[in-house]
């Protein structure tokens, strides 16, 4: 017998050590130097599979049913080579989709369904709670055994229902483990839900339990006996033990082996804690390669001594005073080996705590993320959506979940313990998580699988599981009528939980597994065919099923990129340091000396570097995006449809990003188009400017030529007659006036174009303006014998909003135009004002030669004038009409000409009553395309 205090002290020292390991692991992880980034740690952490059930229960199972305890290890061993396909795919998908639990995984695959996530969580909790209870039972029983042995009276009572609640060791074990799990798994929140410290501790525990078990095995085999031969031959002397060592070759035995191996194959994949260590906590999928052979090796090592210990136990305790589950501990105690006994106790403790910590952490993550948070977020009253900081709340939920899960386990332990061996409870849990198999395996390899199929298959399988496996155990524990397990409910034999529809003669686990999976798979497949996947499901199905590329993309890059570009790209996404480190790793692998300051110059800009860059980026932004991003700096070929689909499918978020990207690209294209248009317009403007300058200089040159010529003539010919001199001087003066006018108008136009929006808006009476303009021209017209009539309705002021001076300029320009072209002998000009509700129209009509139809269109363009028809000596600049048009368009009015050749021309314009500011608001001059206006035959003004 060991002192209880000693055991407690040893336990606490051990747990303290464990915590130190975890703490160290976390610190290293924070410092970016992960200790678990190592395939051996990964393989050891996978051994969380071996729990107290393995440590104590295997011997118990071997003692009662012989070799079939091996099935639990046979399954994973047989399956291990396939991990490279299945688990790697799960890892790949989970990393890309940031999946943090098995519930998340299934929910994500079937369209990110919260309902499915919740269902998986419930199944997982229901399935795993008994399993955790089993660990509690193991710890408390082993503690009782270690501290009371060989007091058999205490043993039979150990953990029994007779123990008062508060005296129950298991309660304190549960609470202690809850505390530890909170410390290990929920100390802080991490977006990736990775717990490096916890994994380090678990790996350490795997080592401890293996060493402890090997130690006791070696002691029993070579200490108590003289090796395997001696032990087996002594056991063979007893008939009952001989049966344990042999396999009866019968169909039912093989069937049982097959079923149990199959069950453990599913369990190793889908137990939440296995998912946690193998997938969520995986640092590098290459570690899986070592895990594939190291983990089965671990299983073999931990099983070598199971049968010898069981046989020795049977021989040492033939009367059944010691439970077979406790042989591992009882043998060293019986042999008075206290140190070994403590080691064994610690080994069992480590097996149990590792399982409890990882499983509870995984369950708590699921309960929090897939059960509680969705409900809370949907509960509008809580207004969680509006809160920016949910960390505290999340952590609280996470920690509460841990405590609740462990208390549930304790309650389960109190209810049914004593009725089942460790192994049976474990198998029931296995059968529960096996219900995830159709949804996950189907989800990974069958795109057609739908949400409805997964959900209903899971729920139905779970119900059948509950009915055939835990329900009978409740009945046996007295929680349900006992007749339920003896005759079936209400005596209906065909519903007997261990012989549904007459399927008799199977072990309860094989029976339950068969029916639950049959129903599950049936509904999954059937409903998947019956229902249509939604768009999200469809894209998620692609993301999952096509997660492993058929071939490496290394060869895709045919183009070239510069190292500098790749480097900048990496820095942008990963930060400068990580980019340098990433490139350094590549350089080292290429045999480049990175101690040289110029090592980057030696990097080859080849496909391998691009592939490497892509891989570096994949960690940060996912593989499809990485491919695109790297592609952006590579002068490579455009994406093909398949690749585009890959990008779209990668995740919903990625789709959103892709859409964003696509939108940006379109915007960019549009901006480019606008830029091109603007450029073309600029070029056009440039050309027009050139034309304008060319025309202006030409127009300047004509009067200059005359002035020069006549000046020279007069200079050279002092003998000119007075009349001739007078005539020539008159020409010079006229030409000079023309020059002045032209320069003024060029300046006017220039001003109009430079300050297009400087229309002063004030009420202007057009009647007054007409009067003023006619007044200004009257002398000139009188001298030429031109009559000008103004026709304005009585009392009509013709008030509009606009710029008085400019509108007057328009009128002056039109009047002088009319004056210039009206009939030589009997010139008549008529100015008419028409008042309408929305605008005022003014017509200026002359009786000149008119304007040809083809000239009407271009009459408002610069320097377009019917020059040959102009009144002699009244040549204009050719800019008057252009200026008038500009001004009217700025007032949002129209200006046009109507003319029948030979019968004069009428220039008309309208000004709106109220001045509306430019409706397009882009600051451009208000120059609506006059060709669009049916009232204006003028062509587009030159801007």
């Amino acid at each position: 017998m060991l002192q209880g205090g000693l055991i407690l002290a040893a336990s606490f020292v051990y747990l303290g050590l464990l915590f130190a390991v975890a703490y160290y692991g976390d610190r290293r992880a924070d410092a970016g130097r992960s200790i678990i980034s190592n395939p051996y740690f990964y393989a050891l952490s996978l051994a969380v599979y071996c729990t107290a059930w393995t440590f104590y229960g295997s011997v118990g199972r071997a003692a009662s049913t012989g070799l079939d305890f091996l099935t639990i290890y046979l399954g994973p061993t047989i399956l291990a080579p396939l991990w490279w396909l299945i688990v790697r795919k799960m890892i790949r998908v989970s990393k890309r989709q940031r999946i943090t639990s098995i519930a998340d995984f299934i929910a994500s695959r079937y369209g990110k369904s919260a309902v499915l996530g919740g269902a998986v969580t419930i199944v997982a909790v229901a399935g795993i709670v008994p399993y955790i209870a089993l660990q509690l039972k193991a710890i408390s029983t082993s503690f009782t055994v270690a501290s009371t042995y060989p007091d058999t009276a205490a043993l039979t009572n150990a953990g029994g229902a007779a123990v008062p609640l508060l005296a129950d060791t298991a309660l304190y074990v549960a609470l202690l483990l809850a505390l530890f799990t909170v410390l290990f798994g929920a100390r802080h929140l991490d977006a990736s839900e990775r717990h490096e410290g916890m994994v380090a501790a678990v790996a350490f525990e795997s080592l401890v339990k293996l060493v402890a078990f090997l130690a006791v095995g070696l002691f029993v085999t070579f200490g108590l006996y003289q090796g395997f031969g001696d032990l087996f031959s002594r056991a063979a002397e007893r008939a009952d033990l001989r049966a344990l060592m042999t396999l009866e070759p019968s169909a039912s035995v093989f069937g049982e082996w097959a079923w149990l191996s199959f069950l453990s194959m599913l369990a190793i994949l889908f137990l939440p804690r296995q998912f946690q260590v193998a997938v969520v906590e995986n640092v590098n999928e290459q570690h899986l390669k070592k895990g594939i052979w190291l983990f089965p090796l671990y299983l073999i090592l931990i099983n070598i001594f199971v049968l010898p210990i069981a046989l020795a136990g049977m021989m040492y305790f033939p009367d059944g005073t010691v439970e077979a589950d406790m042989f591992v501990l009882a043998l060293p105690l019986e042999s008075e080996q206290p140190l070994l006994a403590v080691l064994v106790f610690i080994g069992g403790l480590s097996a149990a705590t590792a399982m409890v910590i990882v499983a509870t952490t995984a369950l708590a993550t699921m309960v929090c993320n897939d059960l509680v948070m969705p409900v809370l977020l949907r509960t509008k009253a809580l207004r969680l959506q509006e809160r920016t900081q949910l960390t505290g709340l999340l952590l609280g939920i996470r920690r509460s979940s841990i405590v609740v899960v462990l208390l549930l386990s304790f309650i389960y332990f109190r209810m049914v313990e004593g009725h089942y061996t460790l192994v049976s409870i474990g198998l029931i849990s296995f059968a529960a998580v096996a219900q995830f198999a159709p949804a996950i395996l189907g989800g990974l390899y069958w795109k057609r699988g739908t949400h409805a199929g997964a959900l209903w298959g899971l729920l139905a399988g779970f119900l059948v599981w509950a009915y055939t496996l835990p329900a009978p155990s409740f009945a046996e524990a007295g929680l349900l009528p006992h007749s339920f397990v003896e005759e079936g409910p209400w005596g209906w034999a065909f519903l007997h939980p261990h012989a549904l529809f007459g399927l008799d003669g199977w072990s309860p686990v094989a029976h339950g597994l068969f029916w639950s999976l049959l129903v599950n798979v049936g509904l999954y497949v059937g409903l998947s065919f019956k229902t249509q996947p939604t768009a999200v499901e469809h894209s998620q199905a692609r993301a999952f099923v096509d997660a492993l590329p058929v071939s490496s993309r290394a060869t895709v890059w045919r183009g070239q990129a510069s190292v500098t570009e790749l480097r900048q790209l990496l820095s942008r996404f990963l930060g400068h340091r990580a980019a340098t480190q990433g490139l350094k790793r590549f350089a080292n692998a290429q045999g480049i000396d990175t101690t040289q300051p110029t090592w980057e110059d030696h990097l080859p800009a080849n496909a391998r570097l691009m592939h490497h860059a892509e891989k570096l980026l994949t960690g940060a932004i996912g593989s499809a995006s990485a491919h695109v991003v790297v592609g952006s700096v590579v002068n490579a070929e455009p994406l093909n449809l398949e690749e585009v689909m890959d990008i779209l499918d990668e995740t919903q978020q990625m789709i959103a990003h892709s859409r964003e990207l696509e939108r940006k690209k379109r915007e960019l294209e549009q901006a480019t188009q606008r830029l091109q248009a603007a450029n073309a317009k600029l070029q056009e403007l440039d050309r027009l400017k050139d034309d304008f300058i060319s025309t202006v200089t030409h127009e300047l040159r004509t009067p200059l030529t005359s002035i020069r010529a006549f000046s020279e003539i007069m200079y050279d010919n002092p003998d000119l007659s007075a009349e001739q001199r007078q005539e020539f001087l008159e020409v010079i003066i006229k030409e000079e006036e023309r020059l002045t006018r032209l320069i003024n108008q060029v300046l006017d136009l220039q001003k109009l174009e430079a300050e297009p929006m400087t229309v002063k808006v004030e009420p202007v009476s057009l009647r007054t303006i007409i009067d003023e303009a006619v007044q200004a021209m009257s002398q000139q017209m009188e001298a030429a014998g031109v009559t000008c009539t103004v026709e304005v309705p009585d009392e009509e002021p013709g008030t509009v909003e606009g710029d008085r001076d400019r509108l007057k300029q328009v009128l002056l320009n039109l009047l002088s135009n009319a004056f210039k072209f009206c009939d030589d002998t009997d010139g008549r000009i008529v100015v008419t004002l028409r008042s309408r509700a929305e605008d005022v129209q003014i017509d200026v009509a002359d009786n000149g030669p008119g304007i040809d139809l083809d000239e009407q269109d271009s009459i408002f363009e610069r320097f377009q004038q019917a020059r040959s028809k102009a009144r002699a000596g009244s040549s204009g600049s050719g800019l008057g009409l252009t200026i008038a048009q500009r001004i009217i368009l700025e007032h949002n009015g129209d200006i046009w000409v109507e003319s029948t050749p030979g019968e004069g021309a009428t220039f008309s314009f309208t000004v709106p009553r109220t001045h509306a500011t430019d409706p397009t608001g882009d600051g451009a001059p208000a120059t609506p395309d006059p060709t669009a206006s049916d009232s204006s035959p003028a062509t587009s003004p030159i801007t």
């Binding site: 010529a709 003539i713 020409v731 000596g873």
Partner: protein
Amino acid sequence: MATHVLIVDDEPSIAMSLEFIMKKQGYETDVVDDGAKALQRIEETRPDVVLLDVMLPSHDGFEVCRRIREREEWDELKVLMITAKGREEDVKKGLAMGADGYVTKPFAIKDVVARVEQLLT
């Protein structure tokens, strides 16, 4: 027989100044203000020299020049283009159409006189 000069320009003041200058040199002058009239007048009066502005209503100066050179019987007719300064392409074009020389506006009287005399010798 006196040398006959045809002046083709639509700017009355320029035509007027050219006419004065040519008359002063003792040439007979004739003035028209567009290309079609110019061709018609050549047909009628067979001038020795045409002072031809480029920018004209109806046919422009180039066109008039081209048509003159199409007529074999007008081979002796000298064509002096009056083009704007700084428009070298106009000069080239005019010469390509068969013009015998050019002066640029604004012109100096002695240049025009010298050019016409040069064509007549």
